[in-house]
Symmetry: C2
Subunit: 301 residues, 2 copies
């Protein structure tokens, strides 16, 4: 199935207990598309400045990623810098420089409009709505959002929620959005706003998917070495939607297999700074990680 | 197999967002034994004061719990009072009154000494060691501990760790004990101290078991209503060891089925104040909850 992502392509400066990396390729659309491309072709919509080195774009180009929707605008690329605490339990944003992202008005290339699967990365819900309006006949739409939009643009976000099938957010955001601490009740409220399935991301505790097919829990792969959690959620989303695109199914048990694929890609992402681990990944490693995740959950007779 | 637990029988006063309960029956041995008794007979070793109402003891007596090791001493029963925060994320101890527990020197009745399965509840590691020394030929020994003993009696705790097969602790305690934030590495260090299997309890994120049979993750059942988390860990342990006692197996896949039984009993415990939910539980509810937990983890073909 034809898969489309809209989001950011960014330059991330990251400090973690494992080290530091400066102006590494990142952004929700870059993580998502790279993760998804191991499963199915993906079309990317994003904007970058004229300062983005070609070498960065080349990292995305050698893959099943259509860059026809990657707009180059005069100005600087979106930059973000953050620092993880010693135990990775907290993340502090050091600075955010929107650059060309500030005036981003996504326009889909004509040959993107027949996309069947859409992932709306964590950007302004107004832009998410604009993109969705340009897709002719979406079959399955998933979206991410964050505290900034939940607090700052609740009305616009509600309009998006009414039009999507799957919302992927972290536990704190789910609680904030629903104004309810209990996650099961929070998700029930969010589902009343539109999405029939909600995936709650819980970091190193894995993810919980609540939808029509009953609750499903996918563990985080127990990692011996955590390097940089940046992009893990978008990598999860990429693996998830990529697996759906590959399979051609959009409901029932495929959602569970997709969540496993998502958990696998999310776990790889965390093993390197920025996108370095994802960019060097092989299909055999992914298959092995998915098998390991299944073993992790296998009770036996 | 013959199952033995040593721990506390206490009177708990608990405040949570769901309400308040005063001097309810509690304590690690009471929770453990009640949970285990749904699977197999269990022998209890603990001490209570002469102030404990018979009605409390009667709650335990009508079950597959041998109370021959429940010592009544002159004085007051161990009392604990705690308060959970609005979102259940923190617990504050309001007071601890050791009472007769202060001079507890557990002596096993003669007919307890042939126990094959032993659970050392969260008490002074010196006492844990004393109990273990009185068991003739233990086949499988599991233990719990807490930050208080990790910091206060590290040497005694290490001696216990060297003699047990399974350690069940929460994530923060695992990190504290191993002086290592990464849980996978923390568990690897703890396993070097003795226990071949470590079960890390993570509250509403479930539990992770790392041992010879490979890693296993059991989710927490997603509960619509949380009332009182007190005793959930001991109920998990009771379900876990009870299922092992019932099966007669002590290694391999039984550990995973035991962890599921533990997760089921832990989830019930949280649904009521103190032991009220456990005490009213039926076998059919347990079977249904275990099935629900399996479904929660079932990926399908």
């Amino acid at each position: 199935m034809k898969l489309l992502v809209v989001g950011s392509v960014a330059l991330d400066t990251i400090e973690s207990p494992a080290g530091r990396v400066e102006e590494a390729l990142g952004g929700s659309a870059a993580f998502f598309a790279t993760a998804a491309s191991f499963f199915a072709p993906v079309r990317l919509v994003a904007t970058v400045g004229d300062d983005l080195a070609d070498a960065h774009v080349e990292k995305l180009r050698g893959r099943a990623i259509d860059l026809g929707g990657l707009h180059r605008a005069p100005g600087r690329t979106f930059r973000w810098a953050g620092r993880y605490s010693d135990d990775f339990s907290r993340r502090e944003t050091l600075f955010t420089e929107l650059g060309v992202f500030q005036h981003f008005r996504p326009t889909l290339p004509d040959d993107y409009r027949d996309a069947e699967l859409v992932f709306l990365g964590n950007i302004d819900p107004e832009l998410q709505g604009e993109v969705l309006g340009q897709v002719k006949k979406p079959v399955l739409v998933a979206a991410d959002t964050m505290n900034f939009w939940i607090a700052g643009k609740p009305h616009e976000l509600e309009k998006v929620l009414a039009r999507i099938d799957i919302l992927m957010i972290n536990d704190e955001e789910a609680r904030q959005l629903a104004r309810e601490h209990n996650l099961v009740r929070a998700v029930a409220r969010i589902r009343q706003l539109g999405p029939r399935t909600v995936i709650v991301k819980r970091g190193d505790s894995g993810a919980m998917m609540l939808g029509a097919d009953g609750p499903f829990v996918v563990p985080a792969f127990p990692l011996h070495d955590v390097v940089d959690p940046t992009g893990a959620g978008d990598s999860f989303a990429g693996g998830f939607m990529g697996e759906i695109a590959r399979s051609g199914e959009t409901q029932g048990r495929i959602l569970r297999r997709a969540a496993l694929a998502g958990a696998a890609l999310g776990s790889f992402c965390v093993e390197g700074f920025g996108m370095e681990r994802l960019l060097g990944l092989h299909q055999a490693e992914i298959a092995a990680r998915i098998k390991d995740l299944k073993d992790l959950m296998h009770v036996g007779a």
